[in-house]
Amino acid sequence: MKMVVVMMIMMVMAMVSEANMIEQTCKETPDFNLCVSLLDSDPRGSSADTSGLALILVDKIKGLATKTLKEINTLYKKRPELKQALDECSRRYNTILKADVPEAIEAISKGVPKFGEDGVIDAGVEAAVCEGDFKGKSPLTSLTKSMQKVSNVARAIVRMLL
C-alpha cells in the first residue's frame, strides 16, 4: 500500500513539474497564452522535453496548414474571382506541409535544430505572403494570422535547442 502512495505522490509531482516545464518554456516565447493552450491541449505535452514540445508545435503547424488548405479549396467555389491569389496560397501552404514540416520534424528529432528553425520560420513567411496576395481583402486572415503566431512560438522553442 505504501508503494502505491509513493507512486501516486511521484505521479502528481511529475504532472506538476511537467506543468511547470510547459509554463517555463512558454514564458520564453512571444505568446505565452497561445503557447500554453497549444501544449496543454496536447496529450504529449505532459511528458515532453523541449524537443518534444517543439515537435508538438510543428504538429500544430501541420494541422493548421491542412485546415487552411481545406478552406482554400472551399473558397475556389465560393469566391471564384480570387482564383489567382488562392492558387498562390495553395502553393505556399503546400510548401508548409510538404517541405517545412518534414524538414522541421527531421531536424528537431536529429538534433540539428537550425534546420527546424528554418522550417518553422518559413511557415510564417508563407502564411504572410499568402495573406498579402489578397491586397487587403483576404478571406483567410484569421488562419494566416494564426499561422504566423504559431510560427513565432514554435521558433522561440526551437531556438532553445540551439
Binding site: V12, V36, I121
Partner: protein
C-alpha cells in the same frame, strides 16, 4: 518544490484509510481485497488530477516580476538573426497597398548560377572532405536527394581539375549502416604519411545519436575515388560523458603532434559555452580524449564545423595542417549554430597539451564583434591544404535567402562560394585575407576598362553588355569630403540593376571621419532594394575594412545571377549575398557606378569582364581523356 508540501495534508487525510486497510488485513490475505485497492487507487488518481488542474490553471497571465530580467535577456538571445530577417515580410502582409507577387519560371530559372558549384537539383549544405588526389580536386557535400529542403542527407561528390569546372559523380556515401542511418553528415579528410586518405565523418545513428565514423577509398588506384568503404568497427567515437548525444559533430582534418600521433578536434557545447574537444589517435580507430579542451568561449552556443589550421606569418602560401613552428600562427574557426555566422580568431597553439589561446580574447571565436570569414551569407565553411599548388583553400556553403516555396518551385537550394585562398594578412597580422582562386580567371571573356570621375550624388551607367555574369576589379580614390558631416560615401557599384534602378544591389565603400580626423572605412552590400519580391530576405551587410596608409580603396565583385561575392581591400573584408531580382534579369540586367557622397568626388579605375559559364555537368567518359597525373 512547493507542490510536495501541499500534498502532505491531502495524503495524511487518507492515510488512516490506507493504514487501516493494510493493518487490518493479515499478510497472507493481503492480495484478496482488490476492490479496496481499486477504490483507493482511483481516489488518489482523482486527487492527483484535481491538484494538477488547480496548479496548471492558476498561472500568472503576464510574466511581470522577478522573472522579467531573465526573460528579457533570453528573449534577446532567442531573437537573434532570424527574427530580423522576417520582420519586414510580416509588415508587408499588413501593407494593404502592397503588390501581390508570384514567382514565374522565367524569373526562377534565371537564378541558377553559371560558375558557382551547385548540384543539378535539390538541397545542398556543408562542404565535406575537400582534397586533391591524383590530379583531381575532390569536393563532397551534404545533399538531399529527395527535396529542395534539408533532410535525408547523403554525401554528394564532384571532381575538377581546376576548382572551377566541376563534374558530378555518384554519391560517395549514403546512410546504409546503423551508425549513419539517420544521416551521413559533415566530415573531413586527412592524408596519412604514405599518401593514403582517411575520412572522418559524423553519422546520426538509428537512435539519433551523433557519432564519428571512419571511411576510406575502396580503391586507392581510382583517381575519381568513386567508392568508399566504411570501417567495420564504426563508430570510432561516441559522445563522451558530459556531452549531449546531439552535440557532437563535424570532426576536423587531423594534424601531427610532436609525439608523432594524429590529433583532431570536434566542436560541441556545455550549456551555453561553445567548446572544442581534442582527441589523439595513431590509427584513426581508437582515440584518447584529452581532459583539456582545445578552446572554449562562454555564451557562444554550439560550435559546428570547427576548423583548425596553421598560417604563415611571413609567407603568402598555404601550409599543411601539421606544420608548426615559430613562423606560424594558428587559426581556430567555428560555425555558430545560434547565429549562423562563421567566426575565426588568430592565436597560439600549444602542442604539448593541445590547447590554443587567442591573440585578442575580446574578439575570441564566436564573439559577435569578432572576425568573420564573410560578413554576408556564408556558413559551415571548411579549409583544406592543396598540396598540388601549396595553398590553403576555403569552401563556404551559401544558402538561399528566399522562401522555401520558391526553392520547391525552382527545384533547388544553395550554392557554394567560389573557393578562396586563405593567408594571414602579413601587413596587419590581425586578420586573414581571402581571394577567389586564380583559376576563376580562366572564365574571363572580353573585358572593358574604365576610368571615371563622378561627382557627389551621381549614378552613371557602365556599359558592358549583359551584366549578370561579370567580374569587376576596381580601385577608387576620393577627393574633397564632408569635413563637417564626417562621412564620405557611400560609393561603389550598383549591380543586378534594371535600367530604372527599381531593383539594384549596392556594393560599396563608406568612409567616415572620426573626431580624431582618422578615416574609418566600411565595406558593405545593400540588398534592401534588390528586388520587388516581398518574400525574400533583403539585408544590408557590412563591416569595417582595414585600409593602410597609402592604399587606394580596392574592391572586387563577382556577379553570378543570384549570388554576389564582394571582396574589399584585396580580401580583407568579404561579403557574399543572395539576390533575387524580378526585373533585372537576362538582358535587362545593368551595371551602374554611383557616388552618394555629399561633397566628395570619386575617381574609379576599373575593369569589367564578361564571365563564361563553368558548364558544370555530370562526369562522362569524354571528361576523362587525359591520363591523370599521380601526386
Amino acid at each position: 518544490m512547493a507542490s510536495s508540501e501541499s500534498l502532505l495534508p491531502v495524503t495524511s487525510q487518507h492515510d488512516p484509510l490506507s493504514e487501516s486497510s493494510s493493518n487490518s488485513i493479515p499478510e497472507t490475505r493481503r492480495r484478496k481485497p482488490t476492490k479496496v485497492h481499486l477504490v483507493v487507487y482511483s481516489g488518489f488518481l482523482l486527487i492527483a488530477l484535481y491538484i494538477t488542474l488547480i496548479v496548471t490553471h492558476t498561472r500568472p497571465v503576464s510574466t511581470k516580476g522577478a522573472n522579467d530580467e531573465k526573460t528579457v535577456a533570453s528573449r534577446a538571445r532567442l531573437a537573434g538573426v532570424s527574427e530580423k530577417s522576417n520582420e519586414h515580410i510580416w509588415k508587408m502582409s499588413d501593407d494593404r497597398e502592397g503588390e501581390a507577387f508570384a514567382w514565374n519560371n522565367t524569373m526562377l530559372s534565371w537564378q541558377r548560377t553559371a560558375f558557382h558549384f551547385q548540384p543539378e537539383k535539390n538541397w545542398m549544405n556543408d562542404p565535406d572532405g575537400p582534397l586533391f588526389y591524383k590530379g583531381w580536386y575532390h569536393f563532397f557535400y551534404q545533399y538531399n536527394p529527395n527535396a529542395a529542403v534539408w533532410g535525408d542527407i547523403v554525401w554528394g561528390h564532384a571532381v575538377s581539375k581546376d576548382l572551377i569546372h566541376w563534374l558530378h559523380l555518384p554519391f560517395a556515401m549514403v546512410p546504409d549502416q546503423w551508425y549513419d542511418a539517420n544521416g551521413v553528415w559533415t566530415g573531413s579528410a586527412t592524408f596519412l604519411d604514405d599518401g593514403s586518405i582517411v575520412m572522418l565523418y559524423t553519422g546520426s545513428t538509428d537512435k539519433f545519436v551523433q557519432v564519428q565514423n571512419l571511411a576510406y577509398p575502396e580503391d586507392p588506384n581510382d583517381p575519381l575515388l568513386l567508392k568508399w568503404t566504411k570501417f567495420s568497427g564504426n563508430p570510432v567515437l561516441e559522445p563522451p560523458p558530459g556531452i549531449g548525444d546531439k552535440d557532437f559533430r563535424d570532426p576536423t582534418t587531423a594534424w601531427k603532434t610532436s609525439d608523432g600521433k594524429w590529433r583532431i578536434t570536434i566542436g560541441s557545447k556545455i550549456n551555453r559555452t561553445g567548446i572544442s574537444l581534442v582527441y589523439d589517435t595513431v590509427d584513426f580507430k581508437t582515440y584518447e580524449k584529452h581532459d583539456i579542451l582545445l578552446h572554449q568561449v562562454p555564451n557562444t552556443g554550439m560550435w559546428e564545423c570547427v576548423d583548425f589550421y596553421p598560417v604563415s606569418k611571413t609567407k603568402h602560401h598555404g601550409l599543411d595542417t601539421s606544420v608548426n613552428g615559430p613562423d606560424v600562427r594558428h587559426i581556430v574557426k567555428a560555425s555558430m549554430d545560434d547565429t549562423r555566422i562563421d567566426h575565426y580568431a588568430i592565436g597560439t597553439y600549444y602542442d604539448s597539451n593541445g590547447t590554443w589561446v587567442p591573440d585578442n580574447p575580446s574578439i575570441d571565436v564566436g564573439i559577435s564583434t569578432g572576425l568573420r570569414y564573410d560578413y554576408g551569407k556564408f556558413y559551415a565553411s571548411k579549409t583544406f591544404y592543396d598540396q598540388h599548388k601549396g595553398r590553403r583553400i576555403l569552401w563556404g556553403w551559401i544558402g538561399e535567402s528566399d522562401s522555401e516555396a520558391a526553392d520547391v518551385q525552382k527545384g533547388w537550394s544553395s550554392v557554394q562560394a567560389i573557393p578562396r585562398t586563405v593567408v594571414l594578412d602579413t601587413k596587419t597580422r590581425k586578420n586573414l585575407i581571402q581571394w577567389p582562386v586564380k583559376e576563376i580567371e580562366s572564365l574571363r571573356l572580353r573585358s572593358k576598362k574604365f576610368h571615371k570621375k563622378i561627382g557627389p550624388g551621381t549614378v552613371v551607367p557602365v556599359n558592358v553588355g549583359p551584366a549578370d555574369q561579370i567580374d569587376i576589379e576596381a580601385d577608387c580614390e576620393t577627393s574633397g569630403g564632408a569635413t563637417l558631416r564626417g562621412a564620405l560615401g557611400p560609393f561603389g557599384f550598383s549591380v543586378l540593376a534594371d535600367q530604372s534602378l527599381s531593383e539594384q544591389t549596392l556594393v560599396y565603400f563608406y568612409v567616415t571621419k572620426g573626431k580624431d580626423s582618422k578615416l574609418k572605412t566600411f565595406f558593405c552590400t545593400d540588398t534592401s532594394k534588390s528586388t520587388m519580391a516581398n518574400d525574400v530576405v533583403k539585408q544590408v551587410y557590412g563591416s569595417f575594412v582595414p585600409v593602410l596608409k597609402g592604399e587606394k580603396l580596392t574592391m572586387r565583385i563577382l556577379v553570378d545571377h543570384s549570388i554576389v561575392e564582394g571582396f574589399g581591400q584585396g580580401g580583407r573584408t568579404c561579403i557574399t549575398s543572395r539576390v533575387y531580382p524580378t526585373k533585372a534579369i537576362y538582358g535587362a540586367t545593368k551595371l551602374f557606378l554611383f557616388n552618394n557622397a555629399t561633397d566628395a568626388t570619386v575617381t574609379a579605375s576599373f575593369k569589367v569582364w564578361q564571365m563564361n559559364s563553368a558548364f558544370i555537368h555530370p562526369f562522362s567518359a569524354v571528361d576523362d581523356l587525359v591520363v591523370p597525373s599521380s601526386t
